[in-house]
Amino acid sequence: MSEVSLLTKLKDAIVNLDFDGSKHLAQEALAKGIPPNEIITKAISSAMEEVGRKFEASEYFLSELIVAGEIGKEISQMLQPYMKDAEIKKIGKVVIGTVKGDLHDIGKNIFGMMLEAAGFEVIDLGNDVPAEAFVEAVKNHKPDIMGMSALLTVTMVEMENVIKELKKAGLREKVKVIIGGAPITEEYAKRIGADGYGKDAVVGVDICKAWIGKK
């Protein structure tokens, strides 16, 4: 099998959510000497893009996106020992968390998973994260992007507070801020001074990729 057709098969296996098949094909690719980096960009990343497209076209469910993301992540991890340090470098760093008072995290988790599959390093602060913890994380980890999520209207106001605290700490200009969650709208994001609004995880990841590309 040619390199190209092997990578295409791997990509298809991921798109079809075939975990075992993907694993075998990735091992085969490694055995054939295909550089891990190429496996990641030509098979895994493009599979994730395809799955994202299918989701946007209402052919795939969000839950299938998650499964694809998990397969992609596991295979990437499998490839890591075979990569040179320089190659492991992530395309960007993102700190994410659900704001104070909000105990719901499904949306944030999906976003984090998809960011990782897209090649980002993700630092997940978890749920019910107070403003200070966001500020601390930005100070210590120096991420390119900070993402906040809220599922409840009563907690979404906390986002504005976090941005204020970032400003006070003189960190607002050092990081792009993206927000998301059921009650959030484009207008709200603008009003509180966020840089972007991800109406779903796919859109959110696209925005992050665009920001990194421009840097």
Binding site: F55, E59, Y60, L62, S63, I66, E70, I106
Partner: protein, 455 residues
Amino acid sequence: MVLFSKLEIEKPSELIFGSAKHPLNYGFGLNVGKGEVIPEVKFFPRVFSDKDPEGFKTEVQTITRDILDRAVELGIPSLQIETELTFMETKNPRLAAEIASLQKWLMEKYFDEHGIKLGFRVTVADIRDFREGLRTTANYNLMMETFDAVSSNGADVLSIESEGGKDVFNHSIIRQDIEGIVFSILLASLDMGFIWKDIVNVARRNGCIAGGDTACAIANTAMKLAGGVKSMSLPHTLAAIVRAMSAARSLVAYEQGATGPGKDCGYENVILKAITGFPMSMEGKSSACAHSSLMGNIASACCDLWSNEQVENLMLFGGSAPQVFLEILHYDCKLMNRAIMLGKALELRDMLVLSDKYDDPQALVLSPDVAIEVANAIVSEYGDYYRRVKSACRKIVEILESSSPLRLSHAEARFLSHVKNIIDSLPDDGETFREQMCKTFTGKVPTFREKDYWP
């Protein structure tokens, strides 16, 4: 243990609102399931600090009085009030007892002064911490103490939304992992077998009624994830399948001696009413205050109590939100009760059913004919927690595939055939399944521990 090996209500035409095979009589003259649909109103207090038990008591008192006042203004003949204890209240049995007796005292007053028939359900929160384990922990004991406190201080009916298996379910549902979902429902059944034995004992000791449980943490999570008609978060067929399977789990309460009325947010109650003949509370259209659904009308088709699920005590122009939603429930009930009086209940029921039935797979499950088919699939495997979940799944997939005019998208149809393959590939016996799944989930879901379910 009661084993339901056949249906108490076998004919779809007898699975209908306001009438149950085994009606209940409790509280201040309340008759449930005996020819009348009764509003069941539920509220959420506006108290901003968990550290303010006095504020809590005042708030609950105000809300209860508001509700009773509006009931009198509207001339409502029969009413059930549900108090769903918060974590804070459940962890404080003395406070829970005080609140229950305060509410009961008010109810007695209004019953005496205005003749309004009243029932009082208290739902205790499942305060167990999965990290600590599910049985015989301090929180478990505290929860049972609170059941005891409220049932000896005025509660007529006890309920809980128990959460066994929820961690495995949460992990599985967002991955569409059918095996994991089946396993989580098996876990939930085992957990219910344990806790409902204790709840029924407490209820018997205090002369009150063990109501029922709801698969809220499971089936309603799936419903919420499934979202609106165009949402692609989760297959709506999956939410429908989870609902059908969850009936096998919620049945356990009745096997342990609960007698209904089943708790409102268990949409699987239609299936349980067919199996047990006990009256059921349902919610739908008028619980839009708590969450949106695609089965607002069909959910009322077989209810005996009709509930608003939960509404925060905000002020609207027309009164407090609990008053407003009581009024809406009242008119819903008035219509159903008038239909009963006119001998046209079945016709109204069918209008309610058909108004939603084919618009979403989740609605289809609640249709009396479908519910009875699923109920039969469950009792055909009575006594086996695992096999009856599988049986419900297989049955509902079969129904969903053949239910025109229900239109399934390409993605939904693809998903359905995937489920069929998975279900057919599952082992026949629960032991093998248990071994496989415990291996899969131990470690993967950090809070899952085999010994919480098989001690």
